[in-house]
């Protein structure tokens, strides 16, 4: 990236080509995730005077010794009362190099579904470990879930180093253990950093207490972290979201298919297939409000016109003719189960939402359940309880156009909805379809 494309602080309306990095925190309860986000914001001078006054007031009212920086994200009344994070908080900040969206997620196992919510849109994970307690089951669960969701870049923050006398061997042992664990999941990019979120060591500023660590501080690391390549093959996928038929004289014959590019590149003149029928046609035009485009790439929201009149509706998918997705009437997937009400059992019926299509599914098989400590799958399992991860086969009422999740996030992901409560109860990542 050239310097010319960076933001100019003196000209906030000037050209700004900075891209976004989406980060999610992960780790066990009380490891200091919220405190760290607060520290990052405070030390990088991204907090506002009235915000700081408010959290100083709250800390004093609750009789705390210091200003509790976790209150910058723990904004709900019950979170402050209980001293834990319950739901994801999103915070926005930027440096001259990059813009960030931080999702501060809860560590408590009861709120794993909220952690999954925050991690599902993240490019990288900030994984925290309390130096005194080391790698815990919940640390492994969050690391595994982040990886399953497609996060390939991990920053391991060994926190509360102040409580272990800034001891280097403690840091080395934890980073080694976690790097080994990540390696077994296939994750090779783990950068470890010793910090004290509470005192600020190696967060934005270098630390006197841990001069044995060469740096850079966390913020600098995040500014230069390689932005994640979301798993995405290059074949075009355009799920149709909405059919645009203007009932206005000037656009009498206009018929466009509105949607968000999921993968690949769609160009005017491309030969495409329309799923699920498989009928072929050609891209006649790509409209983006006040101008026409020659091509569209993810995640642009555009309207596509085709040369032939075909039966296309919400849930149809316009795809590269020479590289179509699998038209699946049955799918295998990793599922993270999130219902407090009932476990996921064989023969259950659920609603599946995949891209812009919604259908019903029958749970044909719950084939395996993950043990997050050993990373082994228990092949005798036949159901998944709250917060468990397993391998599931679903039979679909109507076919879905799918790709494996590790090739295409957008067309490989689905959610499961409980028909009785309308609640979202499962997150699914497709491994195969037929």
């Amino acid at each position: 990236m050239t310097t010319a494309s960076l933001a100019d602080p003196l000209d906030p309306l000037g050209p700004d080509q900075r891209t976004l990095l989406r980060l999610a925190t992960a780790g066990s309860v009380d490891d200091g995730k919220s405190t760290l986000i607060g520290r990052l914001l405070f030390d990088s001078k991204q907090t506002f005077i009235d915000q700081m006054e408010a959290i100083e007031r709250s800390s004093r009212t609750r009789g705390e010794d210091d200003v509790n920086l976790a209150y910058l994200t723990d904004g709900l009344r019950s979170e402050r009362e209980q001293g834990i994070t319950i739901d994801v908080a999103y915070r926005y900040f930027s440096t001259p190099r990059r813009k960030f969206i931080l999702a501060d997620t809860p560590g408590h196992v009861q709120y794993t579904r909220n952690m999954v919510t925050g991690a599902s849109t993240a490019d990288a994970a900030l994984l925290l470990v309390d130096a005194r307690r080391g790698v815990l089951e919940q640390t492994r669960r969050h690391a595994y879930l982040s990886n399953l969701l497609g996060i390939r870049h991990f920053v391991l923050c060994v926190n509360k180093m102040d409580l272990v006398d800034w001891d280097r061997p403690v840091f080395d042992a934890i980073s080694e253990e976690l790097t080994r664990f990540a390696g077994r999941m296939g994750v090779t990019d783990v950068q470890a950093i010793p910090i004290s979120a509470k005192l600020g060591d190696w967060v934005v500023e270098p630390s006197q207490n841990m001069s044995w660590y060469p740096g850079p501080p966390l913020l600098e690391l995040l500014e230069t972290l390689e932005a994640s390549d979301p798993p995405q093959h290059h074949a075009s996928r355009f799920p149709v979201q909405y059919v645009v038929r203007p009932l206005r004289e000037a656009y009498h014959d206009y018929r466009g298919y509105a949607g968000t590019m999921a993968s690949g590149v769609l160009r005017v003149g491309d030969r495409v297939k329309v799923m699920p029928s498989g009928a072929e046609t050609t891209v006649a035009g790509i409209d983006a409000f006040d101008h026409e485009l020659a091509e569209a790439t993810p995640p642009m929201a555009v309207t596509v016109r085709l040369t032939d009149q075909l039966d296309i509706r919400r849930g149809s998918m316009i795809v590269a003719a020479d590289h179509p997705p699998i038209a699946a009437s049955s799918i295998d997937a990793h599922v993270c189960w999130m219902s407090e009400r009932v476990p996921l059992r064989e023969r259950d019926r659920l609603v599946v939402k995949h891209t812009t299509q919604t259908t019903r599914a029958l749970v044909e098989e719950v084939g395996a359940r993950l043990d997050v400590n050993t990373l082994e799958y228990d092949l005798t399992a036949s159901q998944l309880s709250l917060n468990e991860i397993g391998r599931v086969r679903l039979r679909l009422m109507a076919p879905l156009s799918v790709d494996p999740y590790d090739e295409s996030r957008e067309t490989g992901a689905f959610i499961l909805i409980d028909e009785a409560t309308s609640a979202t109860v499962g997150a699914g990542m497709i491994t195969a379809g037929e």
Partner: protein, 307 residues
């Protein structure tokens, strides 16, 4: 694999935010029966309306626009509202707090600090029922306030309009679950991930018109609780609250009784944004009287169904 195109460059932040917002708006329009877009004439709702215009072009926006009118408006904002709605040829519904008062649905607060801000909630929920809306688009951003920072993009309200922050649905990827149970409706927030500065940058990039009160102008003001409020027939002044002329602009457009202005010389978009980029006080902290009372003022109002 037969296709070998190179990976496209990442979109710049504004284009990314715009695409996400359009995706959300189309998703709601496709999955819900009767959506409606809340339009106050403020900068966030102006941007949201722009995204809706883009989402369905060249078709008209396929849902109405609603203004919850406290009756205590900046006249400049109402003029602007009517002009914009006419331009887009969309249906405008005005839900009036005055009507709710006249019908005895709410009781007007009294005294010099009276505000209709809280009463809006009843007017809003009555309108949702009367028009049978199942989704309302709101221009709220997560960077505005700590309770909003926690809210989903599709946020559910029960039959009493209540938000339950400790029991939100998981929301994964961009797969929004729009299934309602009886009596529920959705508040959908297409600008969730925008910051105040993003909104201004977008206004500039799209060359959007905004009401004149966002720019520095001379206006009679008075001081209360360390903030500057516009003199209006709606706010009785306390002893010592003498009016004086000041050059001000407003950072948000709300109800005149509880929206404070800031001293400013910024007459152009560039100047306004330069001031905002340099400020050390949040938008709400600087301009909203209603959030100062308690630690969880916004969370409590949201629980009651406030937008």
């Amino acid at each position: 694999m037969t296709t070998t195109a190179t990976r496209p460059a990442a979109l710049d932040t504004l284009s990314w935010l715009e695409a996400e917002g359009i995706h959300i708006i189309r998703e709601v329009a496709a999955e819900l029966e009767r959506p409606c877009l809340l339009f106050s004439g403020g900068k966030d709702s102006i941007v949201m309306l722009r995204l809706a215009e883009k989402a369905f072009w060249p078709a008209r926006i396929p849902f109405p626009v609603m203004h919850v009118d406290t009756g205590h408006n900046f006249p400049e904002a109402i003029d602007f509202r009517d002009r914009r709605v006419a331009e887009l040829d969309v249906e405008l519904i005005v839900a009036s707090v005055q009507d709710s008062i006249d019908q005895g649905r709410v009781v007007e607060e009294t005294g010099p600090r009276a505000s209709r801000n809280r009463l809006q909630t009843v007017t809003l929920l009555d309108a949702v029922l009367a028009h049978d809306f199942d989704a309302l688009f709101g221009g709220a951003r997560r960077d505005e306030e700590k309770a909003r920072a926690k809210e989903r993009i599709f946020s559910f309200r029960d039959a009493f309009g209540q938000w339950d922050p400790s029991n939100q649905r998981p929301e994964l990827w961009n797969l929004y679950n729009g299934k309602l149970t009886r009596g529920e409706h959705i508040r959908a927030f297409p600008l969730s991930n925008w910051t105040e500065l993003d909104v201004w940058q977008y206004i500039k990039r799209e060359d959007l018109e905004i009401p004149s009160i966002y720019f520095a102008h001379d206006r009679p003001m008075f001081k209360r609780d360390g903030m500057l409020f516009p003199v209006s027939e709606f706010v009785p002044r306390l002893p010592g609250e003498d009016p004086f002329d000041a050059r001000v602009r407003f950072r948000t457009v709300g109800d005149m009784t509880c929206t404070a202005g800031v001293l400013s010389e910024a007459e152009t978009l560039e100047a306004v944004v330069a001031e905002i980029a340099a400020t050390r006080i949040t938008e709400r902290g600087e301009t909203r009287a209603d959030d100062r009372f308690s630690e969880a003022a916004m969370e409590d109002r949201k629980r009651e169904g406030y937008f």
